[in-house]
């Protein structure tokens, strides 16, 4: 067999990383960017279409911090509006995350580990999903990777001058992180815990520097927190989450590795958890030393955020979502690499290949399958409405917040409203569902209309009573499903 040319070896890493980046961009251009806008994305577009000050106001009432939304606002100011443009911003951070995780893996282990980590990230169905979503998650991932990189640099660098630089960069990235996502604090907690149990790794005086960074971060975030508390609407944000169960924890791991699959496939995947015990057994290999401090750190950075999110959700308020925990995804991949590195070479190669093949397979299933549970085909639904609903008809959307994606795509002549009726110009949360006032609300909506189109998605607990009300009071003409839990019903109001 012919040997590859010399430049291949010289630029092996650059070529490999470029190929990975090309792969994710191709997937984005040809598949992901063509998918329908989803609720969260529509919300992002709506929120960022306001002035910066108004964005602050809207986000402060939401469950997020404002950095990404401001970036998206200015991104659109310069590059124009649109789904593809919005998604491109997320893609930029996903692309940047590829070399970032390579350097993190290289720093923690070696060049090959870095490359494999980059490969896993680039074929990750989860990352590819959020690398193409108009939300802050790919930015969050990128910032977390940088944060972990500089954290490791803090104790792996002996030179005082360079350490000073890394402290500055660590602080700077932390500052960006706390304005990217509230869960970034979990990353800081993980590092604090790691520091507490590994003080010997750090230099004298590092504790004070950590404290100083935390103080700066608290000072920086306090005006924002004051503003959020002052508005006092964060607890009313929708959609409301449910308290997590143990299933959610395993689903998180499953999603991090295999993406969003239909319930049946996901159930099969997670029910094979006893194989993890077998992998644990395989991990029993003669090793020259204990697991490295880097591996211990990645284990901490993987487990602590999940545990904290679970505990907080169980005790205070549900906030456990796998996408919020995306900060644990890079540590998961790096933990897997640490585990594989401990295996005999042949075995290691075998598992590396199996993992890549399975992940790529799952990535394509996620991308192409019409049954992928996170797909929200509002585009097709509204296209249908544009084609079939007339000026005499009215379109009712529920849950109310799903009005955003519908509004984005719908260009027909029917009136658009929500149930419960939500006046977005009115300050305050979405009105709750009230069965007693439902007939009056429906009467208001149906006045002077021929047909009513009811588009139901994001069940907030009152989807069934709503549907039953219309089924029992009006003649149902049509039912149509567009994606998982996105259903359209047509009712005859009058003849």
């Amino acid at each position: 067999m012919k040997k590859p040319p010399a430049f291949f070896y010289k630029y092996k890493v650059t070529l490999a990383l470029s190929a990975m980046i090309l792969f994710i961009i191709s997937l984005s251009v040809f598949i992901f960017s063509r998918q329908s806008l989803r609720l969260d994305e529509a919300q992002s577009l709506w929120q960022t279409s306001r002035s910066p000050l108004k964005i602050f106001n809207i986000i402060a009432q939401d469950v997020h911090v404002p950095l990404y939304h401001l970036m998206l606002h200015f991104w659109q100011v310069f590059l124009g509006n649109g789904v593809a443009t919005g998604r491109a911003l997320s893609m930029v951070f996903f692309v940047l995350s590829i070399p970032a995780i390579y350097f993190l893996g290289k720093l923690a282990y070696n060049k090959n580990a870095g490359l494999y980590a980059a490969l896993l990230l680039s074929i990750s169905p989860f990352m590819n999903w959020y690398g193409n979503e108009i939300r802050m998650y790919s930015l969050f991932t990128f910032v977390v990777i940088l944060h972990q990189y500089f954290f490791l640099k803090l104790y792996k660098t002996a030179d005082a001058e360079r350490r000073g630089g890394y402290w500055f960069l660590y602080g700077l990235v932390s500052l960006v992180g706390i304005f990217t996502h509230y869960f970034f604090w979990f990353s800081l907690v993980s590092q604090a815990l790691f520091y507490l149990f590994n003080k010997d790794l750090f230099q004298k005086g590092d504790f004070k520097k950590f404290l100083a960074v935390i103080m700066i971060l608290l000072l920086a975030i306090s005006p924002w927190l004051y503003y959020v508390l002052h508005l006092g609407t964060i607890s009313n944000s929708s959609p409301q989450l449910e308290a997590p169960t143990t299933v959610d924890i395993f689903n998180t791991f499953s999603q991090f590795l295999f993406g969003f699959q239909i319930d049946y496939v996901n159930t099969i995947l997670v029910s094979m958890w006893p194989l993890l015990v077998l992998f644990g057994f395989f991990g029993l290999q003669k090793s020259k030393k204990r697991p490295s401090s880097e591996t211990m750190y990645f284990i901490t950075a993987l487990i602590v955020p999940m545990a904290l999110a679970f505990i907080v959700s169980s005790i205070f308020r549900p906030l456990y979502l796998s996408r919020y925990l995306i900060l644990s995804l890079p540590p998961l991949y790096l933990c897997i690499i640490a585990f594989l590195n401990n295996l005999p070479p042949n075995f290691k190669r075998f598992f590396e290949i199996v993992l890549v093949v399975v992940m790529v397979g799952m990535l394509f299933i996620e991308a192409f399958s019409a049954f992928t549970p996170v797909k929200e085909n509002y585009q097709q639904a509204t296209d249908y409405l544009t084609a079939h609903a007339t000026a005499d008809d009215t379109i009712v959307v529920s849950a109310p917040f799903t009005i955003y994606p519908v509004e984005y795509y719908y260009h027909g002549s029917s009136t658009l409203t929500t149930l419960p009726i939500w006046d977005r110009s009115h300050y305050g949360p979405i009105p709750p569902f009230d069965a007693a006032t439902l007939p009056a609300q429906v009467a208001t909506i149906t006045q002077n209309h021929q047909n009513l189109w009811l588009l139901l998605s994001y069940n907030q607990g009152y989807e069934e009573p709503l549907r039953l009300y219309f089924d029992t009071h009006y003649q149902r003409l049509l039912v149509k499903n567009f994606s998982l839990d996105l259903n359209l019903y047509e009712y005859k109001l009058r003849y």
């Binding site: 169960t245 299933v247 159930t267 029910s271 958890w273 077998l278 057994f281 090793s287 020259k288 042949n346």
Partner: protein, 511 residues
């Protein structure tokens, strides 16, 4: 196609680091907390499925609880004991027990013994070749003559190795004896490191590790040694602290007066060393463990020899429970009782392993399960417990414990069951010395039960899928079954015949 699970070609630079054991106490505490959490939730809070299966599962878990708690208690502190007088060097008689081993092996040991740095010792070859009906029995006498050491050849048998030693006790004079199996070659500093411990007047015996220098030869030798690493590393070092060191029959020194007080080496048990150590402890005498490789022996090189060695140990261990009733013997402290029972009960684990392994099989054929619980909830309490346990095991052996070792221990369930059956039926086994030459042949008959298990799993899986499709329960049970299958495959692989068969060699000595 055989999948190579282990990297057999590489030789770690530091092969004796298993002795450098310290386990963080925080890790031990965490392990206990996770273990108890898992056990309590499983036993008391989950809805019971099939009562019989649940009973079997809980019985198994009680056993695991016992094994793990005693292990964690043992490794809590593994610091060595410093002898009161490091310059205590009393005269010693050195016994080399021989029963037909090849001349070269005996010779190597004798040469090394003679090269030991020590003021006063006398060497005896205890030759049982004649009573073992070995054709080469005179070779031991020739070696003695060549190297100017004493030889005591028994002409009347009885008591196996213990009988051989007891016979020598009557014919030698020094107040301390050191025992080496024929293949265990001591280091020059063996006596200098071992004997000072006898400056404590209550010290009855001092044990050092039974290291296998042929560790790298093949999968069997590796597996045999890696199992020993856990025992001679953290476990023996922990037992040292608790004055409950296990006597291992070789690489050890004994105070003759105390040995005679307990009636010499125990001739009634197939594991004479184990029992004799216990008798010494129950007389209130002390023991010590020198956690340093001071002699190097040979591991069994083939599957049959390994099987027989393990059977002998299992049978002897079970004797301690069923014959000597270790838990209620007078004279032993509570700690010593626990330690002896913990060591001996290891050989009951085969019963637990097969019970657990059969749970997926029963599910496949009947759909019955021991507990009705969301598999994820079970995973959430089981996985942290098992991973921390594995990490503790690894950490306690200074990262020497291997999958191979675990697979050997788990797959040995068939040996343990055979030993248990032999104890229950009162069958008196023959004392078979581990062969010092590699035996070849088809040993698949020794792993029939493992093969049957895999066949049952395959058939059961078809039945289960036919019954309920590819359900979550089927997949979870399949994963458990696969785990067992991968582990048992290791044993089956070792039992397969090699290309060039050689004549079998077995040495048998009537007890």
């Amino acid at each position: 196609m055989r999948i190579r699970l282990f990297n057999s070609k590489k030789t770690p630079k530091d092969q004796k680091r298993f002795l450098n054991t310290t386990t963080p106490k925080g890790l031990v505490i965490l392990n206990v907390v996770l273990l108890l959490t898992y056990f309590i939730l499983l036993a008391f809070f989950f809805p019971i499925g099939n009562k019989v299966l649940f009973g079997l599962l809980i019985a198994g878990e009680v056993f695991h609880l016992w094994q793990l708690l005693t292990f964690l208690y043992t490794i809590w502190n593994t610091k060595g004991i410093t002898p009161p007088d490091p310059n205590f060097h009393p005269p010693v008689d050195i016994y080399v027990t021989v029963a037909g081993e090849p001349k070269e092996i005996i010779e190597e040991t004798i040469v090394a013994i003679k090269a030991m740095e020590y003021p006063e010792f006398k060497v005896y070859i205890l030759n049982d070749g004649y009573v073992a009906h070995r054709d080469n029995w005179q070779e031991a006498e020739m070696v003695a003559q060549t190297h100017g050491v004493e030889v005591i050849t028994r002409k009347v048998g009885g008591g196996a190795k213990a009988g051989n030693i007891n016979n020598a006790l009557r014919q030698t004079d020094n107040p301390f004896i050191v025992i080496f199996d024929a293949d265990h070659v001591p280091h020059p500093d063996f006596l200098l490191k071992m004997m000072p411990h006898f400056s404590d007047p209550k010290m009855a015996f001092v044990q050092s590790p039974q290291y296998y220098k042929n560790y790298y030869l093949n999968e069997v030798t590796r597996g045999a040694w890696e199992q020993q690493e856990l025992f001679f590393g953290p476990i023996c070092r922990g037992k040292n602290r608790l004055n409950a060191v296990t006597m291992c029959g070789t690489n050890m020194a004994i105070r003759k007066e105390m040995l005679l007080e307990v009636g010499g080496m125990c001739e009634e048990s197939i594991a004479e060393d184990f029992a004799t150590g216990m008798f010494l402890h129950e007389h209130g005498f002390k023991s010590a463990y020198v956690g340093e490789v001071l002699a190097e022996g040979l591991a069994p090189e083939d599957f049959l020899s390994y099987y027989k060695q393990q059977f002998r140990w299992a049978r002897g261990g079970l004797d301690l429970i069923f014959k000597y009733n270790v838990l209620f013997r007078k004279g032993l402290t509570l700690t010593q009782r626990i330690q002896y029972l913990a060591s001996a009960s290891f050989y009951v684990s085969g019963l637990i392993i097969i019970m657990n392994a059969l749970i997926p099989v029963v599910f496949f054929f009947t759909g019955l399960v021991p507990v009705v619980v969301a598999t994820m909830l079970l995973a959430l309490i089981f996985l942290p417990y098992i991973f921390v346990t594995l990490y503790t095991l690894q950490g306690s052996t200074n990262f020497s414990y291997t999958f191979r070792s675990l697979a050997f221990s788990m797959s040995s369930f068939s040996i343990h069951l055979e030993a248990l059956w032999s104890v229950i039926t009162g069958h008196k086994p023959k004392f078979e010395i581990t062969s010092k030459k590699k035996l070849t042949g088809n040993f698949l008959y020794l792993v029939k039960i493992h093969i049957v298990y895999i066949v049952l799993i395959a058939a059961g899986l078809i039945v289960a899928v036919h019954r309920e499709g590819v359900s979550a329960s089927v997949m979870a049970n399949m994963a458990w079954a696969l785990l067992n299958t991968v582990i048992f495959t290791q044993f089956i692989y070792l039992a397969l015949p090699e290309q060039t068969p050689q004549p079998k060699e077995t040495i048998e000595v009537a007890v």
